[in-house]
Subunit: 303 residues, 6 copies
């Protein structure tokens, strides 16, 4: 149980950070723990592993990838040989998760034709991977990066792509509709995908999706399957975090009476999303529910 507690602490203390890393740490802890359990009958083994899973899950209740990793591994408990199966499932998850962003890059790059202009928002590792892969396949591409107020993460994306040698143009968030006629495809990342195929992502994403929809430009989101939010399948709503007003403007006294609201994310409805690029393929947003059910086993008929 040491490995479980240790991992629990590291996730809780944010020593382990990032959706992918958290998920893999949890899967690995379950694997190592399972390997140490000897001479127990199946029922006792299951009990111990379930407890371990419970603890890990409680380390960061709001991180989507954590319960997904745990659930994926725990699905092994239903098989005939639970210990073997749990270990195999954990290894499977780790490998798949490690390669996820790279696979997304490969799959997503196939949607980028030579000569395309791509628009992206904020600073998504997966979206950047798609663009870089397309570029390194020799395609002649251009990229529009939005500033992404209030924290200007678009500058990071612009810099990262520019450093690869890609032709990058930075624009303010308000200029998306102005430039959309020059854009061939929109590719963004994801903070979470819900059971009914909605995308929770950086504030501003939903209005870019609306603009792309109006202009009939394909809008794709790049999302590892561990971003698919399991609890939304039983109806849960994702609460949108509101962050510090000082991210928007630093106060200097005289403006004090002006309120500032600073939501970090917004929700893009599924009808504005043409496809979700996951490491296991391109899926329509309406398939999100099936991914949650099939790969993470969240639906129980007996529930």
């Amino acid at each position: 149980m040491d490995i479980i507690k240790e991992t629990y602490e590291k996730i809780k203390n944010m020593e382990v950070r990032g959706a992918g890393r958290i998920a893999r740490a949890a899967a690995n802890a379950l694997k190592e723990y399972a390997e140490t359990i000897m001479h127990l009958d199946d029922e006792e083994f299951k009990k111990k592993i379930l407890e371990a899973g419970e603890l890990l899950r409680s380390a960061r209740p709001t991180a989507v990838s954590l319960p997904n990793a745990v659930k994926y591994v725990l699905n092994g408990l239903k098989d005939e040989n639970p210990k073997e199966s749990v270990i195999k499932k954990a290894e499977e998850f780790i490998i798949s998760s490690k390669n996820a962003t790279k696979n997304i890059g490969k799959i997503g790059a196939k949607r980028i034709r030579d000569g395309y202009t791509i628009l992206t928002h904020c600073n998504s590792e997966a979206a950047i991977e798609v663009i870089k892969t397309a570029y390194h396949e020799g395609k002649d591409i251009k990229v529009f990066c939005t500033e992404t107020r209030p924290r200007n993460q678009g500058y990071l994306t612009a810099k990262a792509l520019c450093d690869e040698g890609i032709d990058v143009t930075l624009i303010v968030d308000s200029a998306v509709r102005y430039f959309i006629k020059e854009v061939d495809i929109v590719v963004v990342g994801a903070d979470a995908i819900t059971a009914n195929g909605c995308l929770v992502n950086k504030i501003g994403t939903s209005q870019i999706a609306l603009i792309a929809h109006e202009a009939r430009i394909p809008f794709l989101t790049a999302a590892e399957t561990y971003k698919f939010h399991p609890k939304t399948i039983v109806g849960e709503l994702i609460e949108i975090e509101e962050r510090n007003p000082e991210e928007v403007v630093e106060f200097e006294g005289k403006y004090k009476k002006i309120k500032i609201r600073n939501p970090a994310f917004d929700v893009t409805p599924s009808q504005y999303i043409d496809a979700i690029i996951t490491e296991i393929g391109l899926i329509p947003p309406q398939g999100a529910w099936y991914i949650i059910e099939k790969y993470f086993g969240w639906i129980e008929h007996e529930q």
Copy 2:
């Protein structure tokens, strides 16, 4: 002709600025000049006034209000008593123009019901007048102001409204769709209105209009009639100015390869505009063409 030349210089040197002031200066110059012309027959009078109009118009070729003012006054030349009529037209124009923003405030405020939340963009004198009038009529209102990158004119609007005592919330441009459910009406200003009812206004306006349209929130633009662009009636396109990239981001060497594009305006199509608030009433965008024709006499059947 002194008054004409003097006014021409002042407009050219930007001593006289602002759409309204430029227009009134031109009208006044024509009036004073007409008053000085004595003992000429009608044809000679017309010739002189037409020359004066030509000169004034050339002072700032891109300002919409200038040719409108000149054309309005010159329409008097068609009447039986051209001198008298030119002077009367000039006076008419000046009074109407002076009261325009105030009248827009009164008319627009009628669209704001008690308890409404209003969203505005950038820093428009006419839109602010609408909001302030509604507030001072005793209506309990709230206002969302967008930052309006890259020059953050939204802060000026927020401050101006806050100073009146109005409840103001500042948001980033990307957050409009997030908050639109709390908004009852959008009111913005106008840089120009085209013959087919489109709105040329600060970059970002067209995406706010799209978002309001999607959410079925009324979108109104407040525009003095001298903002209606006369040449668009004969097909002319309005060119959108691109401004200095440094407005968006100050360069520090290492980012030099990132291009920056900074268009100042965008075009909102007429189908996303519910009404134009002018000083002569609320009109549908499809009526813009009629205003240009009727009040400024731009269409000639013999053309």
Copy 3:
């Protein structure tokens, strides 16, 4: 002034009722009053007529047709010979108004092709006139009438059309979308038309218009020009009356805690209206503003 006061009383006491009759009574009173005024110079005549107009207008402040009639007649005061002109305008208005519904019938019937199925809502004299005219021109038509809860005025329409020999089917208000595939055209009446081309009519009209729009079925409203609401051109909103809850359900004690809301009208946006059938022709809803301006002279440039 006796005729003015007498007419004022009759309108106020609802002795004279109905949009058309009220309007004609006011026009007639102004005409008769003008005829009695002798030996006055134009300015004094104008003063007296303006006072009379003011009084008449105050008799029923919410009736749209009354200020329209008064304004129409008073426009005569601007002409060279005001007395003559006022009398002529009044006569013009009375004739035009008397024939309005009949002319609407003739114009609207041209939109009904042989074999058409028409859907109508509530109980509009003008809409019925359109349908009856088409039928008596020998066209083979069918009509769907909605019940029009809560007062079931649809039964009156069904009866009126059935008495003419027309094939009528009555349906509940909820069944409009079910039957819309069998419908070729929707024709309804109007309580008021606003400056930006919206239709204020019996509750339920706007959802029928939405359904027709979804199904690409033409939606027409039959409205005499005196139904065009003059004050909306200067921004005024039309308040929607909420009527007695007992129209919806008679109370019997135990249900007392259930609230009932009973708005009498709703507002159909102009984009769901294909054309307005007036006595002076078929106009697009965007032309409503022009009608108010041209025929009733509501816009003053000096305003």
Copy 4:
């Protein structure tokens, strides 16, 4: 076989009524019958159970839940130990079905935020369960109930919710679009769900869905999985029943020539449905087909 025949009779004679009860009765009959079959080899067992299923299915050919229950249980015949499996499947189905409405309530209530106003139509047990659950979780909610002509089932819903202490407002069916701006979410029940995600429900539902779609208000239907119509997967159309005209209006002779049409249901297309709340989770309407295939095994590749 006695239990099968007895149950067949009870369903046929409507002694057993209601989608859920019929389905459970059939599953239970198959279970009890399976338990009585002894000493038969698998093939003979299968033959007997298939015959029993066939008979039960024929008891009410139009009830959606009946063939679903039978198919669910008969899927056990494919397993290695058919008898055991059939019994297990039957028990599974009964438990799941019994808890279905309660689970729908729990899942659906998660979509209701504190302060929400909900609109519902007709009188659906599942929709009421969602609303009541949200209310008893302590959420401050308001509800609009439509009258639901012609049988006014909306009064029953209003009464049921009012009796719980919920703030209920009753409106006529025509007033939905008028009030939609005050509504945060629409929740209705379902008579049937088709393979391509359409909703068959009380007449009027589809126009409420259209109105919600226009206003961007989420539209949810609460439907137990046994409401998913199996035959639609092989293309079958659901016929809409037309009921007695006297439900709409009682005749009194003179109106006799007016026809009355009274369809009981209409079909809401999937693109107006945001999610289906089932007892096994929230699914997009496009997932309906998968539910039919997976849980009821209706698709056979060899078909």
Copy 5:
């Protein structure tokens, strides 16, 4: 009266053909006839001219331009000096009509930016003038011409533009949506414009307009004002001619049982038309009604 009868015969016998030529011939006949009428008082003059107008109008009842020309000239009868005025109006009409296509070319060419790709349908003189003018202004343009089945008039357009040196690509009518992403603007001609802003033009136009609307590509129609259909303002519907099936396919016996339908025109709704290019300026489709009323005087308040 000789000139009237002679012109009547020439129009009737199709010696004079083409919308513009017919209209000018009628205007000229009225002018010449008016000039020959001497020594009559105004009432007698009016009577004679009205009779002449009546006769001319009857020469080709379905040609839109003919009644427009007659009405335009006859409007002169309302002026103080009817003879002078009729002659002046006729001259005005002839000059304006002669220059109409050229003016449309100048106005329309302003909407074509350098580098644009234009799509056109069928073989419209006015649309070709717009494209040629833009090209001869030095703009680098490309053109897609549709085949325009069944008579392949697109080949004529392709040839005409190609002969000017323009880069032309011919495509089948079915390929419009495939190529629309490469198109910047659609410009077509007009057979008639209706009072509510619809376009009657060669079969296939309305689906091109729909495709342009879906892709947010501006759709413009080039139409001389004499193409605006006067009778539509009083509700008349334009009947669509069905032409000889052999235009579609030449029969060879064995296919005889296959029916062929061959409508020559279709109707494009106003909401898919961005602007109408007329010789007096660019107007929104909703302004069509105003053109008919103002320039041709078709609406009479007394009607």
Copy 6:
């Protein structure tokens, strides 16, 4: 291996043609080959079969049905008894494929109600089967066939249906929107279905789908499951073939400078497709991905 090589040659040389026949030939070759392999352990068997599959797949890299057939059969290699399973899978595939079009006919015909008018495009065996089945079930139907330029395959369809006795009308491709009001349902075939539910079919299909969508007419595509494009699930785009310009027009020298473009297919987005009729049932386009995954096993979690 002889049977494999022989089949490879026949497919390559187009001796075996047609999506269905190619697929069945490949499955049969694998079956026969598997039957000849004796005395090998499972690993060696797998290796040989995989090689055979590889070779067959390379015979026609662009035919969708070939890799689907191979993949379907090769899925048997994962089972416990690979040889037996491969043979069984091959037989399954062949039977299912043989009956596919017939089953599609049966399923699709259920969507055709008595009295319906159907529109079809090009010459699809599956779509024709649907129409013929409906007709031979005794339904009174009418059919519109489009010409389908440039090769006029619509004539073949018209003839085929006419020969059955069906009432057929031929129209030009441009007339679809004109006649859509008379159409109850559109049924077309498919060249390929992509993972996100798009339809690749004969040029013109996507604009018919758009027109049907605008008019709210159901649009169905009839597609055997072997038409579902496997590689699209990992992001691949389908390249659209451009064919010989002479299919459009035969050249005669003087037109040589006119370019001709002749794409053979276009892509219909999933939101314009109401359902896909497959031999295993009616599915929503969003289910395409699931079919590819489930029946052909294209997604590997470890990928």
